[in-house]
Assembly symmetry: C2
Homo-oligomer: 224 residues x 2
């Protein structure tokens, strides 16, 4: 019985690693689609998000099976309930990446910017997602807490993008209202994209907090 | 044993009704704080969000107890796992309301608007939250599906707010850069607030989808 339980826990780890990898791939694809204005890749990203949803359902079923059949206690129970919570955040990360891809599909961003600060947000959030999953798999409390602290970097970058946007609005051509309207649409899209990355950072923080809980038994939440 | 199980299920219903009521109160308070520029109420809203977090933990513990001690099957198992998922969305609704209150605290919105379209978003999302919880408690599949359909109303209102914002940017005074910068800050805040309401609508939709699952055993997700 115990061996079977360990086998299922190993499977749970494997599944969560796979779900984490899917999240990273999806964020990367969304960013690439955005920067290269690649609508085909954006479509693929939105498709990939469905795999993440399916993976969540599979892991959820596995967790419930573990809870019902194995009656885990203490540390194992914490581990499984942490996994149940983590996958909800991972699924939301997939949603946010798909939302970014969706903007690429519907919008035609013509703003004079190379998205540098958005790129930095993307790198920072991908790092957080990777390391939060790594922390779960390795039961690494230190790494989990590093992820939680790193969310400040993403929040600061979000403020930088807001400043970029204020600059852009300030520099809009006064004469041509049509161009201003187009630029306003772009500004809204850029703000939304930055917001999605900020949320991805929040979800990675949540994951790290659940890792902390699975190890220490204490669940603390950061102010977002 | 069965009676004890039913008693705990009744308690679960009661707790979820209370958590839903907390969510509604918090959204209402956030909106009031926003419209009346009431910083004290904004602070209270952020405090109230902590109650929602605590309620989530209580319900989670109850659900795990039900799963571990009672070994529910079929419909009851679906009901409890649906509850486990729902409370995560309810907790996020509290987060979004607190995020709105947070903007009221830090920002000094001076934009010439009575927030009419934001008010409409608030009403629509509160209706969705109330009815999604009602649908769970009454096991009302029809009401759950009405909530899911109603999310389109919120999404359309979000587009209206975006149009308002484009109008505002277009009408900004050309001469005074300082005023433009202040108005740009306000525009960003209004967009974020509208985004939070749109997300509250998404979470209410998720809740309704879990209600649907708890009744039918099938979980379908809307495109957000």
């Amino acid at each position: 019985m115990r061996n079977r339980f360990d086998t299922q826990l190993t499977l749970l780890n494997k599944e969560i690693i796979e779900m984490g990898a899917l999240c990273e791939t999806t964020i990367n694809a969304a960013v690439k689609a955005l920067i290269e204005k690649d609508r085909a890749l954006a479509k693929q990203t939105i498709e990939a998000e469905k795999q993440i949803d399916q993976k969540e359902k599979d892991i959820e079923a596995l967790c419930l099976k573990l809870l019902l059949q194995q009656q885990p206690v203490a540390r194992d129970l914490r581990l499984i309930s942490a996994a149940l919570k983590m996958i909800t955040d991972m699924e939301r990360i997939g949603d946010q990446a798909a939302d970014i891809a969706d903007i690429v599909l519907v919008a035609d961003l013509t703003l004079p910017t190379d998205f540098q600060d958005i790129k930095l947000m993307a790198e920072a959030t991908i790092k957080m997602v990777t390391e939060s999953v790594e922390a779960f798999v390795q039961r690494d409390l230190v790494l989990a807490r590093e992820v939680i602290a790193y969310d400040d970097v993403v929040d600061d970058l979000f403020d930088v993008v807001k400043d970029d946007v204020i600059q852009l609005i300030g520099d809009m051509p006064k004469a041509d209202k049509e161009i201003r309207n187009q630029m306003s649409l772009d500004v809204i899209d850029i703000l939304m994209i930055a917001k999605y990355f900020e949320r991805i950072g929040d979800h990675a923080t949540n994951i790290a907090e659940w890792v902390e809980f699975s190890i220490t038994g204490t669940h603390t939440e950061q102010e977002e």
